[in-house]
Symmetry: D2
């Protein structure tokens, strides 16, 4: 099915965290907003890597932009490919402090909210489209329990409770090579990440139904 709704897309990326000086998610979002794919109206917002505050900024941007689609993105250091998250969990459990020193343990994102929300993207269609563009992508079954998942869950809860036609999802982006020159960890250049994100934006903006494709995990 072709999506005929609201063509405005809100893209969110994070500020650097965990000792890094750059966050590829924000860099990729900015690059896509600077050169958006044709036919899509893209607005970019940069989120603080802080529980609570990140969601406040996102919520405000949704209110201002009134998008039909929100794609949040974050850095997934160590993953070799773009990963499209499938599920957001109602759980804040920080392994490291956030940028304001906050470190919630086993706390719900939204007290009383459901245990989880599924992304309302055609996740496998997006993965297939990125691969067809020659770039690596896969489905992820967990967005973790840090600020990325916090924002993802908060977004889906916002859609479920206040913006019923809003669709949303989350994309994790690998390190860029500049971050790992001396670390022997996987990376993907910014231009490749931005191009992949552009493909995801246009795929998710145009399609609401998914394709049938392998993408699960045995554990």
């Amino acid at each position: 099915m072709i999506a005929t709704q609201n063509p405005r897309v809100l893209l969110a990326g994070f500020e650097p965290f965990g000792g890094e000086t750059v966050n590829p998610s924000w860099e990729a979002v900015r690059a896509v907003a600077d050169e958006p794919p044709g036919g899509v109206d893209v607005t970019a917002v940069r989120l603080p890597c802080v529980f609570g505050a990140a969601l406040d900024v996102l919520r405000e941007a949704v209110r201002a932009v009134r998008p039909g689609l929100v794609l949040c993105t974050g850095q997934a250091g160590g993953r070799p490919d773009l990963t499209i998250e499938r599920i957001a969990v109602n759980l804040d459990d920080a392994r490291i402090p956030d940028n304001s020193g906050g470190r919630p343990v086993d706390r719900p994102v939204v007290p009383g909210g459901p245990a989880a929300y599924f992304a309302t993207l055609p996740v496998k269609r997006c993965v297939a489209a990125v691969r067809a563009a020659g770039l690596p992508a896969s489905v992820s079954q967990t967005a973790g329990t840090f600020v990325c998942n916090h924002v993802f869950y908060g977004l889906m809860h916002l859609a479920a409770t206040e913006y019923p036609t809003l669709r949303g999802g989350f994309v994790h982006i690998p390190y860029i090579p500049e971050q790992v020159v001396a670390r022997s960890e996987p990376s993907l250049p910014l231009a490749a990440a931005a191009e992949a994100l552009r493909v995801i934006v246009i795929t998710a903006a145009r399609h609401t139904d998914d394709i049938r494709a392998v993408g699960g995990a045995t554990h």
Copy 2:
């Protein structure tokens, strides 16, 4: 809080799958049932690695045993430590066929069921207890989307809808060394896995409240 309820524990493990001739989850479950920790009444059940049928067998065992606690276990090839699963997802998405050739893609475990259930174990207390016994364990944020997650979700849905006092969870167990002699993959001997499982059984049987400890994931 000390659990004073029903001391009967049902332990479930799986038959071999994916070309293996042994499944360490069933072996560990059998070993614990043969030498259960003191004060706990343990019943073991072996599940087929088949979507649907696995849950039928589990449901029947719950009906017959009337346990206060159900711990399902499965093999997580490649993981180096016991992992206690935190969340079960309403999604069947098979990367490989199950033992009857079934290979559902993006299908709910329970149509109309909630997106996910949290385990009703003191997950971090169990992890800490295994570690205190000198064995490796950690929290896992995803049980995958294969028969393990299927059974885990089905169990939690059963508890939520039919057995309100039943507590449940899922433990993933590494390969045993015999499975990987020529593969350079992580393993844990059966005796160690069984001992760790014994610790989890007694910890989960005795305690309903969790401890505050680090165990999240940044992604």
Copy 3:
């Protein structure tokens, strides 16, 4: 010390092997030969992924080109960064067949040759130069025992026995993203690999002495 010798550089890359349709080593070599760094005369040669034959082609190219420096390159699928090999071992031990079906086991590259040769590149200076260019690189302590090591050892033996002023080394190059779109394995785009190789060429062509820098492995 600045190298004042023969400025001719011979670059070797391999044809595809192991079921791949492209070999990033040859692609990178060709790209550098097409746009060589200033002041360096680069010749490219494509080697068959065949024990014996690969070395014949390399030997013939050395005879024809009379280079001062030979850099051989090969694909190291799974490694996330460019790795500059430190040591070539007198051992052919194929885990998979080569492109002609050859599969030597525990056979010397050169019967009666020394157990190993060190690369005669400023290995750590090359690593540092690639990193300074914003690209990921590290020292590797093993080039394996397949055709890459075969060619590397053969080259160093050729230099030791017939071309005393010839310097040589080996660079392993990651998969390119196009190879791993559906595999969740590390990659580095061709343009990045070629640029890194350009940096190595010019660094090795200009310098014979190394810098003092960390680059060892505990095991």
Copy 4:
């Protein structure tokens, strides 16, 4: 060919290093010396994790014991199986300080010595024997450039220059579970490592010729 020589075996293991409080190599060596396989006379020696000093202690033990076979062992944190090292390299290059604070960079173990020595064990026969005992093992192409390789190279040089009938090799041993309870890294229990080492001792003591088996690496 069956070895009919000197049946005395010297086993060396290391003291803890890198912040650990135990070194599984010494623990395994001690266990084997306490319960040696039949028909073999085993002496154990504990080496300091210090460049130079480790080799002094080993050399003195060889002089005192006059063994026919020396097996050195060390901890290889992160490897999931026992690895039998194939080659020792004439290079000290410390990534971390040794236990006396020494941190040599790119220095030969023996100035003027050959670039490398091969182990004089039937490496693949040992690997096969461990696997036949149900325990995981593989061939390793690099012992690193830290104190393990230092001792391995020094041993082989000692044999080559002073004890022509002495055979020698090096075995890397994984972490034991107690070291990684909270780290999600591979491990192998001490009893399993000791049993595997026992198998290697008896295999290497009885056989000088190797079997033909796959064990190489593409890179």
